[in-house]
């Protein structure tokens, strides 16, 4: 085997891989990093000390002191899983809201940026075979919002608009209404969208552009929530009527499919599975957080199964809005993607929604995609099986 042979073999091996686009964001990341470094000042000593304990602890430390964060790419290095635990769950702390934009990129079927404000063709006129994500759009009109259809994201990042004027808003009890869309609306294979409706489920088949209705008789109750299971079934959530008071309350698909002894005030969004792995968002834990510097009863992402018992505690609950943060799905057997803001009002203060990926083994958190829209738009995401080969 000569040196030219080795050259050929190395080239063949190297050519078999292709990296993500890192060039388009490198400049902004570098500028942001320099600005933050200039503002660190003497706090760098504390930050450097924190780095020695791993990225997870660095974030917790920053949150507790209110001091500047260090967005160094060293945060992309896996941290040691050792640290505080809660009921046998290992604990990691998610990045603060202000640090999300400079996280390392995670590989996923989603494009790194999605702009929902640009005009896009109708999916009926320009069909897609499937979608990797769907975003329900609400337009702010005065003091209220109006459901304005769905934007579909194709496997190549192409966007298509779905006019959903035929759908009615959902009564979620006590005089409140919501969009006929759920975090679990998009089927795992990305070919169908299921919408909760007062009289049943309405389905849109993406490749054919066909609408189908499944009427239901649910006297006294309204359908308010749904999500697809990994085996192609749809779980439904109904309102609950109290006949004594006449009040109805929303039942957002109740207890999780998996059994844990973790105390959770209530769950949020759909449970997402990959084989024996399960992940779901807890809108609030019902146990005191052992991590310093975040809310006492914080939102969290819970991952269990296949030897995994891990919690990701999420700081900055207030600006993320209530019911933060729903699970988007598993990217692979170690990374859970989640929307880092609430589905009810997923706009960050900087007018973006970011999906992040949490490595349940190392605690590392990466940036999956950044979704932007116009100033009068609110949006909610629903994702296909992100571990599938699109």
């Amino acid at each position: 085997m000569t040196e030219p042979d080795v050259r050929d073999l190395l080239t063949e091996l190297a050519d078999s891989v292709e990296g993500p686009d890192l060039a388009s964001t490198a400049w902004d990341r570098s500028v942001s990093r320099r600005r933050r470094r200039m503002s660190v000042g003497v706090g760098a000593v504390a930050a450097a000390t924190a780095i020695a304990f791993g990225a997870v602890h660095l974030r917790a430390h920053d949150a507790s002191t209110g001091g500047p964060t260090h967005p160094s790419p060293t945060t992309s290095q896996p941290s040691e899983p050792a640290g505080p635990t809660l009921d046998g769950f290992s604990i990691a702390v998610a990045p603060k809201l202000a640090d999300e934009a400079t996280l390392p990129i995670a590989g996923s079927p989603l494009p790194s940026t999605i702009d929902l404000s640009a005009p896009n063709p109708s999916v009926v006129d320009h069909p897609l075979l499937s979608a990797v994500a769907a975003f329900a759009i609400r337009k702010v009109v005065g003091d209220t919002t109006r459901f304005d259809g769905v934007m579909l994201v194709g496997p190549g990042g192409e966007l298509r608009h779905l006019d959903a004027a035929r759908l009615q808003p959902i009564d979620i009890g006590d005089g409140n209404v919501a969009s006929p869309f759920a975090a679990g609306s998009l089927s795992p294979d990305g070919t169908r969208l299921a919408f909760p409706q007062p009289d049943g489920v309405t389905m849109f088949t993406i490749p054919t552009g066909e609408w189908t209705s499944f009427p239901m008789s649910v006297t006294g109750n309204d359908l308010v929530d749904l999500h697809w299971t990994s085996d192609g079934m749809i779980r439904l959530g109904l309102t609950t009527l109290d006949p004594d008071s006449g009040r109805t309350t929303s039942d957002r698909i109740g207890s999780p499919l998996y059994a844990t002894d973790l105390k959770v005030q209530y769950w949020s969004g759909a449970e997402r599975t990959l084989g024996d792995l399960h992940a779901r968002a807890a809108a609030y834990l019902d146990e005191r957080s052992p991590a310093p510097g975040i809310d006492t009863y914080p939102p969290a992402i819970v991952a269990v199964g296949d030897g995994v018992r891990a919690l990701l505690l999420i700081p900055d609950q207030q600006p993320r809005w209530k019911n933060c943060c729903t699970v988007a799905g598993w990217l692979d057997s170690s990374q859970v993607a989640y929307d880092a803001t609430s589905s009810q009002n997923p706009l960050h203060p900087d007018q973006t929604l970011r999906a992040l990926a949490w490595n349940v083994a190392t605690g590392e958190v990466r940036l999956v995609t950044t979704v932007t829209g116009s100033a009068d738009m609110l949006f909610q995401g629903s994702y296909a099986d992100l571990a599938a080969d699109f």
Binding site: D5, S24, P73, P104
Partner: protein, 176 residues
């Protein structure tokens, strides 16, 4: 603002053109896509921070040096990483497919010490001279020569089937 905008554009154009080559070099060094992405991302950020000075120089060399040295630093932190001593067996008798070759090479590369692997990749994939390789690694030319010799020897012994493949592929085809 105009200068900054121009810098951003020229940097992004350079990075777009070079990122795949840098990623592939990083992948050969690490055999791990995630680590390769991290290395390239950090290297690009470092180049961006120094773009005013590097744009008329050799940003490729700077980025490559960042990748190589950051990878070695990361390896030092991960001393517990276990080197594979022997390449897995492959069923004999069938011609090697491209996938077989890549697997065999990846296994053989895993038997190399980090510096041997780095020298091999820089010399024979990145096409650096011995002098350039030495500068990138901060070593003497003599040390680079020694690492290259040891790397080739170990590669040949770890994956003899690769030698069989290249012997076959270099054999002239019979004329008809």
């Amino acid at each position: 603002v105009g200068v900054a905008s121009d810098d951003r554009e020229t940097f992004t154009a350079w990075a777009s053109a070079r990122q795949q080559a840098l990623f592939r070099t990083a992948y050969l060094l690490t055999a791990d896509r995630s680590r390769a992405e991290d290395l390239v991302q950090i290297a690009l950020m470092k180049v961006a921070a120094r773009w005013a000075r590097l744009r008329d120089g050799d940003p490729d060399a700077f980025a490559r040096t960042c990748i190589v040295r950051d990878n070695i630093s990361a390896w030092r932190r991960r001393r517990r990483e276990v080197l594979v001593e022997t390449a897995p067996d492959r069923a004999t008798g069938d011609p090697m497919t491209a996938i077989d070759r890549r697997l065999a090479l990846a296994s053989a590369l895993a038997t190399l010490a980090p510096r041997q692997r780095t020298v091999l990749v820089l010399r024979y994939y990145a096409d650096l001279t011995e002098q350039q390789t030495a500068e990138t690694l901060g070593l003497s030319v003599g040390t680079v020569k020694a690492h290259a010799h040891q790397a080739l020897h170990r590669l040949r012994s770890a994956a003899p089937e690769l030698a069989e493949f290249v012997d076959r592929s270099h054999r002239p085809e019979a004329s008809t």
